[in-house]
Amino acid sequence: MIDLKRISKWVNVGGKPNFILKDINLDIKEGEFVSIMGPSGSGKSSLLNIIGMLDDSSEGEYFFLGQGVHGLKEKQRSQLYKQYIGFVFQAYHLIDELTVYENIETPLIYQNIKGSERQAMVADILDRFQIVGKKDLFPTQLSGGQQQLVGIARALIGKPKLLLADEPTGNLNSRQGEEIMDLFKQLNNEGVTIIQVTHSEKNAAYGSRIINLLDGRIDNFN
């Protein structure tokens, strides 16, 4: 599904390239549950951003479902991730002015799905995550765990093949965190490919594969 070839990313500091990612080769198959680990500044988030097409690599090739992403324009890339990728953030990133229902509905609006169909899809997912009672509340009225649940619901509403999660449990307590990880496991069992960035060994263990990053390189000796 994902095929990264010799991906590097650097920023110029004082005229010299400062490498964030260096020479990454990575192949992720459909249905995998991959955990990316590593100390702060090792390039985990950058790698996730490149996989999520939110950011460009400075060098290298990226094939998503066999299609070369590196040559695409922003608009084409956005078409691609709109269709196949869902994002979950550490800080949930819900829109404060929208209710739970409306937050979850947002991606469907951008996919030009009809109103009645949207209603059915949102109702489905609310039901599945058991948050029907919360649908008219605003994010600020929810606990962190509930907000993240809404965040995941929103990421899944478009039926993506790939779920990218950047420290999804980072702002949660351990019980909430466990619930979220259980949910991820379950989603993975249903066929969703998941890539998560995490600091926690315990959370990483939920995945089928762990990738360790150190100073922008994949550390194979760990």
Binding site: K75, S78, E97, T106, Y110
Partner: protein, 813 residues
Amino acid sequence: MLKNYLKIAFRNLTKYKFISFINLFGLTIGITCCLLILTYIVHEESYDRYNTKADRIWRVTRSFNNKEGIVSLHLGAVAPPFAPYLQNDFPDIQKITRILPNGTSAFHYEDKIFNEKDINFADNNLFSVFDVPLIKGDRTTALEQPFTMVMTEAIAKKYFGDADPINKVVRLDNQYNFRVSAIMAPLPENSHFHADILLSFNTLKDSAIYGEKGLMTNWGNNAFYTYLLFPENYPAKTLEERFPAFLDRHMAGDDGYGKGSKPSTLTRLYLQQLTDIHLHSHLDEELEQNGDSGRVTIFGAIALFILLIACINYMNLSTARSTLRAREIGIRKVSGAQRGEIITQFLTESVLISFVATLLAVVLTILTLPSINDLTGLHLSAHILQQPTIIALLVVTPIVVGILSGLYPALFLSSFQPVKVLKGLFKAGSNTVNFRKVLVVLQFAISIVLLISTAIVFQQLHYMQNAALGFDKEHILTMGYPNGLYKNYESFRTTLLQDPHVLQVTRSSRIPTGRLLDEQGASTESGDSLRPVTADIKYVAVDHDFLKTYGIPVVAGRDYSRDYSTDSTGFLLNVAATKVLGVKTPQEMVGRHFSYGGVKGRVVGIMRDFNFESMHQAILPIIFIIPSAAQAANNYGNISIKLAGSDIKASVAYVEKTWKRFLPETPFEYTFLDDRFDKLYKSEQQQGSLFTTFAGIAIFIACLGLLGLSAFSISQRIKEIGVRKVLGASTGSIVTLLSTDFLRLVAIASLIAFPIAWYAMHNWLRDFAYRISIEWWVFLGAGILAAAVALVTISIQAIKAAVANPVKALRSE
């Protein structure tokens, strides 16, 4: 999708109430200003267009020029013979109609006597050229017969009550009886002339008035407003080329133009389209005070500038608050939104707010229209808002204003990269900060230009109202000189003078505040013969007491005196006249032989120059003459009475009593000369009030924006302020720190505004022959005022931030 946009727009509006209020309020005021001005423009542009044949009607105007071809006079009216000769020589003219204003006239019916103002003689053709609906009577014959009249319903009611007005007989100026033949609807407000009563033109053919022959030969009485009706799409303007030959054909050998002469070298005819009269015609004689296209443009521009200031507020506050929306934009992009969709969303928001502002503006326009009418003396009606063009504009306004104010913020906000805003790397770029500063400078530059303009308009007004006129305008009572007074004038005068409060009584053809339009040929002594004078000298027919009444000093020779019987052929000149006559000192002219309008006599005295006309006009060479007994009836039109000023009320009552004794048939009406002077500058007075209003609104909206912007920028620096306070900074030093940035912008705005304001007001002042010089301190004052208002605005926020407990600010981080 739209529903979603509207929903989030609405929630954002209610969430940030303060900013939303500033935006909504500013846009509402801006759009209201535009609507008010638009109503005014539509009203001004609509003049005479209610006539179904408006584009086929042209007015004939006449200019007079000297041998060098310089026009000395251009009148909106022409002499009576032109109409029949034009009709004869130019068969393409379908119809000609003439209007002769009769001034204020007294009408008498049974025991009722009233002075009526808008009285005109008119050809019966008037009804087939102009749209004047008749309520009663036959439009084909209404003004056919001599001594018939048509009046409005209101006038009929005043004289006859509920009785049928048709065939009632009314007496005019105690001389002629007129029979009411029809009742007309009043002419609309947007007509360049109005009439309460129309008298049949054929009346003038009566030998006791002009006589048929007089109407065909009097080329000098240019008081007949003459309108031509042409066929559809007729190139009327091309006739002007054929007019010189026309003039030479008919006028040579007549009325001062010798046989075989070419009158076309001294006078010309022009055609003026009916619909151009109100806004573009400013001739020396008009039926009514016309509008001014320049003023329409100025106010249109001011309204747009105010709207621009309001739009800038929206742009500035939206981009300043971008950090608050950044996360939302990131999430939407990650959720699959294209940039176009984000732009649409933000434009929906600005269009929504403009839409609400437009609705509020319509309400506000309707509410404020009466006070605007009071302020300007206009009669604008809210009904204008129902016109299709305005309704179309009202639909377009929210979209245009929304896009104008929302496009830049939309483009800017939609350019955010999700990876940056969602991962906390986001910082609003310094580019937008600079752009915001440019916009603030623009706002304040506009405000300062308006402030300076206001100050200069009022300075000029004050100057005109208080300048030394060269005579004493206090306590002078003026009134018309009715024909009925002619025989008894001397006893009328002596009766008045019996009251010790009546100091002087005089009569004249014109009085100060009027125009100087009368002119005849002059010759001056040169050796043994008289040599014609090439310069124009305007004349005023006066009597012995004019200079005494007005307190005009004599600089050489003497004033008229009843002790010299020869004074009936004596002349008084002003100093300006002696200058154009080419003498070195005024003294030289005294006692010289002089001839004016065919009357030979001597110059008895020279008067000091004084402002007979308004300050718009330069002082012209003037000659005073005492008309012969035969000419007096035609020449005098005004009485001026100088009162002592101690008991004005009793004096006026005495004048009224005397008037009623001598003129029982003429209602007593008077005005004080200084009120006439105030009226002369009414247009400037109105312009001044409107400028003040607009300048106030502009600076107010700009300050609202500044208030929002400073509140925001201070909230961004709250931590810095906390740290500084902990380190020992005083409240004063923090307020200074926060204010300096904004004050610098006002200073730059001033530098931009000064030359623009100077240039604009320099041009404006050129309309006045007597004007103030533009003073540097007006500019400095306007700059300081703007800075002070801005400083107060910012300080409200800055002081709040500076006195806050720093611990709070630091802990919240």
